[in-house]
Amino acid sequence: MLTAILVMAGIAVALGAVLGFAALRYKVEGDPLVEKIDAILPQTQCGQCGFPGCRPYAEAIARGEADINQCPPGGEEGVKKLAELLGVEAKPLDETHGVTKPKSVAYIDEALCIGCTLCIQACPVDAILGAAKQMHTIIASECTGCELCVAPCPVNCISMVPLKEDLGSWKWKYPVFRLRQAT
């Protein structure tokens, strides 16, 4: 009886030592979880989640303070990926934070622009070019479509233009492979 207890205790101590050594030996620097979450988020920086940008939202998720379904640009697929990463159940998008829209870019009607620079200050990715009293324009390739510039414009000259599918962005479709009868 005593031997058995001693043997078990010995195994426990040995395994504990191995685990402790492994934890020290393979210690990961920093907080990779935040990085991993941030990598999944679409980097629109739109703030619809209620946080000032994608990274703060990622940090909030990592701390358990925010839910995974608050990112409309990421859509259902983004929620699914987050759920997979965090090992939790996927859930539908929280509509109080907005709905998923087709990807768009902002467009400034330059005939109306008065050069107030308010949109430049609002743009989270510095995708608007211009200076005080000068016409502004959007660098379309850098625009994330966050819509943050639309509201501040005093003359409502900014509109969101959805990106159309063209030859450059066209994708081969998933082949339709119908085995069942249409019911």
Binding site: D38, L41, P42, Q43, T44, Q45, G53, C54, R55, V105, Y107, E110, A111, L112, C113, I114, P124, V125, D126, A127, A140, S141, E142, T144, P154, V155, L163, K164, E165, D166, L167, G168, S169, W170, K171, W172, K173, Y174, P175, F177, L179
Partner: protein, 548 residues
């Protein structure tokens, strides 16, 4: 005789070459309308340099190369530019693209043509000419030739292969070209060899084209060109770049690499011919040989101006009742054209009219039974059935792990599949999905970087401002040691008043800054606006992933 090697895989579909190979190439005709797409090659689309209403001459540049991976476009005949805008193009998507439309005047008047003394031209400048003359690979991939002719940045090219495989059924354009214009092809090869510095020059021609082999051998003798002309066994896809390299040199192109990695560069016969015409005669790439065959009265090869509508071409070959569609390219790798009015482009080697008898509707697809009949025919030695399962399950990571990108989309697997599964369609889906995701990832990385830089900049500005204020306060304190509260209040009041004034101004109707301009100025603005809208349209088209 050199020793030929056997590449893995391959199939023997019915050839159907006789139909069109017996008649000579029909000379070019000038249709009423020519539609020249700006995106005919891999890489950046060309940029239009003409305006609507301009009269252009045959061979005049109408669009310039935009960037390194691009070529110029030229007017295929003389006439008036009637439209620059979106038009139907030959693409499996059926989406329109930017095209320049010409209304021809029937005079077919050439612009000035200047032959280039290639032996005494700097190689870089010569490659520039190749680009300016619009030369891109005519075998199907349409990769800009100027880049392929640049030996820098890779292992030295020891062998230049002229690809006369033409392994797809029905297509005979290279066959006819070799029979009729072998000397020009070889002249082009000479220029290529000069640019690449390749010691060895080999032409590989499948042995189902004995007349072409004879013609090429005779021409080589006449020109005194040191070239080995090899008759390769007929086996699809023997004309694939990696396959012909294996057959002729025995070299295995590394997985994920290109033939240049083993020092071999491969050019299509048509490309070599086009290069010779361009350099030796100053004629840019404005026409090509197209096989028109299948369900037509007179299957034949045509010399066709780029931009000729396919419907017109079919008319010349004799359209027949019961045509169920048209394939651009061969039956293995070609695609159904969405619209009969799409133009012939640089990639169009064949226009294949379908009928119920020649191309019966596909039988119903059944589930994969894992019979692996697709494995021995795959020239890339992949496991097609496994790639299919991964693509079907949208498991893109696993598909890539199993070398999805080594797939050359030859269609051998789809051809032999007893369950009639369109396997290549699944691989194409998976590939374009992976590209799209990579692009998305790139864009989001850029956005993250820009956002982080912005935060950093704001932080820095705040700090600088604080420092400035501190410095100012210090000097002020030195001047007036005790600033009164009243002074601060007055300052705050002034700011408040200014804000209120600004708000009032904002509330008032904002006049357009262009409202009070003379009409000619307005018209000019409108024109600029229209141009800008077009540019926006073009700018939105992102760069296509580079494929080769």
């Amino acid at each position: 005789m050199m020793e030929l090697q056997r590449f893995p895989g391959g199939i023997h579909p019915e050839e159907h070459k006789q139909e069109s190979s017996s008649r000579p190439i029909h000379a070019a005709f000038v249709p009423k309308k020519l539609v020249v797409p700006m995106r005919q090659h891999i890489g950046q689309p060309s940029k239009p340099i003409v305006k609507v209403g301009d009269r252009v001459l045959k061979g005049q540049m109408i669009a310039e190369a935009d960037g390194y991976v691009s070529v110029a476009m030229h007017a295929p005949s003389s006439g008036i530019v009637t439209e620059i805008g979106l038009a139907a193009v030959p693409h499996p998507s059926g989406l329109p693209d930017l095209c320049i439309t010409l209304s021809t005047d029937g005079r077919d008047e050439w612009a000035a043509r200047t032959p280039i003394d290639w032996r005494n031209t700097d190689p870089a400048a010569l490659r520039g000419h190749v680009r300016e003359l619009g030369i891109a690979g005519l075998g199907g991939a349409v990769f800009p030739s100027s880049i392929k002719l640049d030996p820098a940045g890779g292992p030295p090219i020891h062998t230049l292969i002229l690809n006369g495989g033409e392994c797809e059924p029905w297509i005979t354009c290279d066959d006819r070209l070799m029979r009729e214009r072998a000397e020009d092809i070889l002249e082009g090869a000479r220029i290529m060899q000069h640019l690449l510095g390749a010691e060895k020059l080999i032409a590989g021609i499948e042995d189902n084209k004995p007349e072409a082999i004879a013609a090429m051998r005779a021409a080589a003798e006449r020109l005194g060109l040191a070239i080995e002309i090899a008759a390769m066994p007929t086996l699809y896809p023997g004309g694939g770049g990696k396959q012909i390299t294996k057959t002729l040199t025995g070299l295995d192109t590394p997985s994920g690499g290109r033939t240049t990695d083993v020092g071999v560069q491969v050019f299509n016969m048509g490309t070599s011919y086009a290069l010779a015409r361009a350099i030796l005669h100053g004629e840019p790439l404005i026409s090509r040989i197209v096989t028109v065959t299948g369900h037509v009265l007179q299957p034949q090869n045509f010399e066709v101006l780029i931009g000729t509508p396919i419907s017109e071409l079919l008319l010349h070959a004799g359209e027949r009742d019961g045509t169920t569609g048209v394939i651009m390219g061969g039956p293995m790798m070609g695609f159904d054209v969405p619209d009969m009015d799409v133009p012939v482009v640089k990639a169009t080697n064949c226009v294949l009219a379908k009928s119920k008898e020649l191309f019966p509707p596909k039988p119903r697809e059944l589930p994969c039974i894992r019979c692996t009949q697709c494995v021995p025919v795959c020239p890339a030695e992949l496991q097609p059935q496994q790639l299919y399962w991964f693509a079907r399950a949208r498991d893109l990571g696993r598909a890539q792990e199993y070398h999805l990108f080594d797939c050359i989309e030859c269609g051998c697997c789809s051809y032999v599949c007893p369950s009639h599964i369109p396997l290549v369609d699944y691989y194409r889906f998976a590939k374009s999905e992976i590209w799209a995701r990579e692009k998305e990832k790139r864009l989001s990385d850029i956005a993250r970087e820009r956002h982080e830089f912005r935060l950093f900049r704001q932080e820095r500005e705040k700090k600088e401002k604080a420092e400035r204020l501190a410095a100012k306060a210090q000097t002020k304190r030195a001047e007036a040691p005790a600033p009164g509260d009243a002074e601060q209040d007055a300052k705050k009041k002034l700011i408040r008043e200014a804000l209120a004034r600004a708000q009032a101004r904002k509330a008032a109707v904002t006049p357009k800054n262009t409202d009070n301009l003379p009409p000619e100025k307005q018209a000019e603005i409108a024109e600029i606006e229209a141009r800008r809208a077009k540019i926006v349209e073009i700018a939105k088209q992102p760069v296509e992933p580079e494929q080769h």
